[in-house]
């Protein structure tokens, strides 16, 4: 039976090349767009090493304080002591990391003041390496003791290590200059694609406590260059964590005499697209995908009806020989499905090519621009079975949407009507 189906399908395509070509092309284009959108969204939001906790992480903004009575003396910034009051005892949090708000984070790094290059430098604490999972090739991450002691230690990438020293083991314990100060290399990690805008860096150093906290004389001790990354406990929804944080901020404000402090937390998808809490990226992507699936389905419905009309004699004869409505419909659906699957496969390949060629337009942000080299797409991602299954699913959806009405119509026409030639 299946063999018969396939024979008929090949025959069909040979006899109706234009219809087949248009259907395949329309499906390929649709699938290419839909899969590109999906890939862009996933690259930015799915859990991928080193950002393996994206789905349960919240990032703070810079913080904002002002005099309550007239809103003057308004400044961006948050001190570590303020942050500790808010994030110090969260029930719903597994890890809290206090890092420096580094802006574009560019610094001069070299083995001596004479040969320095611009690199991204990230001042962090020890918990940073618990939120992100880096691949340590040699040495160790920054420890709690090193942070408390404010030791001048640094973790560097293997690319940096190889450009300064002969291999990654040898780099451990050696000195590098960052800005105008010497740091000792404590660990070397595998380089990270600048696609990961939260984890990307060339060098990680111990954050300077005096920069994190500007002291009591500034806005009741509220100001500093601190930023916070919070990973929620497994299974805890981010909304719950966010609500708990908002409670703590309220408590903090109750204890302030003259100033008000404001802080907003963003989830990873919210920081990856538009940096705006009002916009929900997931919703937008879903709406876009729906639109992209429905429009070509309308297109192909029309073409399919015309095609089926052409074959009304054949359908009439088959029914005269005892084929049921269901059997006729099944075959038509199957034939259409074959077309959409071919289109889908072509479309998937198109989408891979599109994402690779247009990655700079689709995925770039401030980190990728300042990074020392163009960013790589993790190839493992392309060979992901989820992508393949999604492609099949979308093909099925297009198929059903476009074929439903015409096939139902066709299988319902009575035998007499078709043989008479209506």
């Amino acid at each position: 039976m299946i063999k018969q189906y396939f024979k008929q399908i090949v025959h069909l395509w040979k006899n109706n090349p234009l219809f087949s070509a248009i259907s395949v092309l329309a499906t390929a284009l649709t699938i290419a767009f839909v899969m590109t959108l999906y890939m862009v969204y996933t690259f930015r939001t799915a859990d991928m090493a080193p950002e393996i906790n994206r789905s349960r992480t919240l990032y703070s903004d810079a913080g904002y304080s002002y005099l309550t009575k007239d809103h003057s003396n308004a400044n961006r910034g948050m001190s570590k002591s303020t942050a500790e009051k808010i994030f110090g005892n969260l029930e719903n949090a597994e890890t809290v990391s206090y890092i420096m708000n580094k802006g574009e984070g560019v610094g001069f790094v070299g083995t001596s003041p004479a040969n320095r290059e611009k690199r991204i430098v990230s001042p962090i604490d020890d918990n940073y390496f618990h939120v992100f999972k880096f691949d340590f090739l040699s040495g160790n991450p920054i420890t709690d003791e090193q942070f408390e002691a404010q030791s001048k230690v640094a973790v560097i990438t293997d690319k940096l290590a190889l450009s300064f020293f002969s291999n990654t083991e040898e780099a451990i314990g050696k000195n590098i200059t960052i800005g105008f100060e010497d740091y000792r290399v404590a660990g070397v990690v595998r380089s990270v694609s600048s696609l990961f805008n939260k984890a990307y860096s060339d060098v990680w150093i111990v954050a300077d406590k005096t920069s994190l906290d500007w002291g009591q004389q500034y806005s009741e001790g509220l100001r500093g260059m601190c930023q916070v990354i919070v990973a929620a406990k497994k299974g805890v929804p981010l909304k719950k964590l966010n609500a708990e944080i908002d409670e703590k901020i309220k408590k903090l404000n109750d204890g302030l005499r003259e100033f008000t402090f404001e802080l907003e937390m963003l989830s990873h998808p919210q920081t990856s697209f538009f940096n705006d809490k009002a916009v929900n990226p997931a919703q937008i992507i879903i709406v876009l995908i729906l639109i992209l699936l429905i429009v070509p389905a309308i297109n192909m419905s029309g073409l399919l009806s015309t095609q089926i009309k052409k074959r009304s004699e054949e359908i009439g004869i088959r029914k005269a020989y005892g084929a049921s409505n269901w059997q006729v419909g099944k075959q038509l659906l199957f034939e259409n499905l074959m077309l959409t699957l071919v289109g889908g496969a072509v479309g998937l390949i198109f989408s891979f090519i599109a994402v690779s060629i247009f990655k700079n337009i689709l995925l770039a942000d401030i980190m990728t621009i300042n990074a020392s080299e163009s960013f790589d797409l993790p190839t493992a991602f392309f060979f992901n079975p989820t992508l393949f299954f999604l492609m099949l699913l979308f093909c099925l959806v297009i198929n059903l949407l476009s074929a439903m009405l015409p096939v139902w119509n066709a299988s319902r026409t009575t035998i007499i009507q078709t043989i008479k030639g209506e």
Binding site: L25, L29, S72, G179, I298, N299, L303, D365
Partner: protein, 415 residues
């Protein structure tokens, strides 16, 4: 001709209804794309009030090795201002440099603006974005002035000179004829200003709106807290693509004066590209353009397919027309006419839907960048219709030409 066309369209309504629905849906969706791109293009065409072509931003870093007294002007002079002047002199002497100036406060294409509050009547306070600029700033950036000039630009005079944008003039003085008027900083009563010029409307970044803006001199005290950015205007003939690289290489060691060192040198055009990517606009624009191309392709395929199959089943009709004296050209025109009528019939409901969306403000495009006016609606609708007509005519041409090439005898015989 019209009556016949309408009759034929009705006769083929089963086949035409699909393309009708598709044209209607795509007209609405395409309109969103067109509207968004319209705003993007208009915003880019709006003048910024300053000219940044051939202008570079020089950033100095500071390595503090000595203590200095923030409150002692001589200490600030010695530690910060004198070395800064030396740096400026060296930069000015670099071949190809036309003019330099320095500024602090709200940068150009930078993420963090600086605000201050001002009052003219001691009661009402108005906010404005502030830029502290040195003398010669207007020359480097060719700041457009409607009236007045950057006069009284001495750092130590009081009241200080101030150039304000028309919006601030309206807020403070309720009139544009504000030259010579005085006002003060709302929170610092001693800080007094006199309006020496009214600038052209100013925008903080490309996609923002025209806002209240104020330019005042850089005070000595600022040097104790911040390092002003240096703006360098380069002669057009000297501005090559490698200029920035060359400058960095040659000046890196030379600018190690006092606590300063050369941190960065970048053109403002590059800065604005970075700002766009940072805000997400660039990827938004590419997705919308991608959608636009997608919809055009789908319509193209749809109209092509529908009319191709229709023409195949209507060969007899075409043959008959030609046998009765219609020329090939007329047949072609007639088919295109049919497609245009279908389009207009489908566009009417689409137009009504769009009008409703616009009225109830359900447009997701960029409303804080530009007001939603009826002019904008009409222009975008026109553009939408024009694009649809264009793509439909193109795609109907192919089956139409094929049909008009049919030999009437053959067609009639086949029937």
């Amino acid at each position: 001709m019209w009556k016949t066309a309408l009759k034929q369209i009705w006769k083929n309504r089963k086949s035409n209804s699909w393309i009708f629905i598709e044209i209607m849906t795509v007209s609405v969706l395409l309109w969103y794309c067109v509207d968004f791109l319209y705003v993007v293009v208009r915003k880019n065409l709006e003048p910024m009030g300053v000219n940044t072509e051939h202008v570079y931003r020089l950033n100095l870093g500071a390595h503090i090795t000595q203590n200095f007294d923030r409150n002692n002007p001589d200490s600030i002079d010695y530690y910060w201002i004198n070395p800064f002047r030396q740096v400026l002199n060296l930069v000015n002497a670099y071949p190809g440099v036309e003019a330099t100036a320095y500024y602090a406060g709200t940068g150009l294409y930078s993420p963090r603006p600086m605000f201050q509050g001002y009052t003219a009547d001691e009661k009402n306070a108005y906010g404005a974005k502030i830029r502290y600029v040195s003398e010669g700033y207007d020359n480097v950036f060719k700041v457009k002035l409607r009236e007045g000039s950057f006069a009284d630009w001495e750092m130590r005079t009081s009241p200080q000179g101030a150039v304000i944008s028309p919006e601030l003039a309206d807020s403070l003085f309720k009139t544009q004829a504000a030259i010579g008027e005085t006002f003060r900083d709302y929170y610092v009563p001693d800080l007094k200003y006199r309006v020496s010029g009214i600038s052209a409307p100013m925008k903080y970044d490309r996609y923002g709106r025209y806002e209240p803006f104020i330019y005042t001199p850089v005070s000595y005290g600022m040097f104790a807290y911040t390092i002003p950015a240096i703006a360098v205007r380069v002669k057009p003939e000297a501005d090559t693509p490698k200029f920035a690289e060359k400058f960095m290489d040659e000046m890196k060691s030379k600018l190690n004066i006092g606590p300063y060192y050369l941190f960065g040198f970048m053109s403002y055009d590059s800065r604005s590209e970075v700002a766009d990517i940072n805000s997400g606009i660039s990827s938004y624009v590419s997705v919308i353009i991608g959608l636009l191309i997608f919809f055009l392709f789908i319509i193209f395929l749809g109209v092509l397919g529908t009319f191709w199959f229709q023409m195949e089943s209507r060969r007899g009709e075409v043959g008959l027309r030609m046998a009765l004296g219609s020329s090939r050209k007329n047949v072609l025109r007639y088919i295109i006419l049919e497609s245009m009528i279908i389009f207009f019939l489908a566009f009417v409901p689409a137009f009504i839907v769009c009008a409703n969306l616009a009225y109830w403000d359900i447009t997701y495009t960029f409303n804080d960048a530009m007001d939603y006016t009826w002019t904008r609606f009409w222009i975008t609708q026109l553009l939408d219709a024009a694009i649809m007509i264009g793509i439909i005519s193109l795609s109907v041409l192919i089956p139409a030409r094929r049909a008009s090439k049919v030999h009437p005898v053959e067609a009639l015989r086949n029937e």
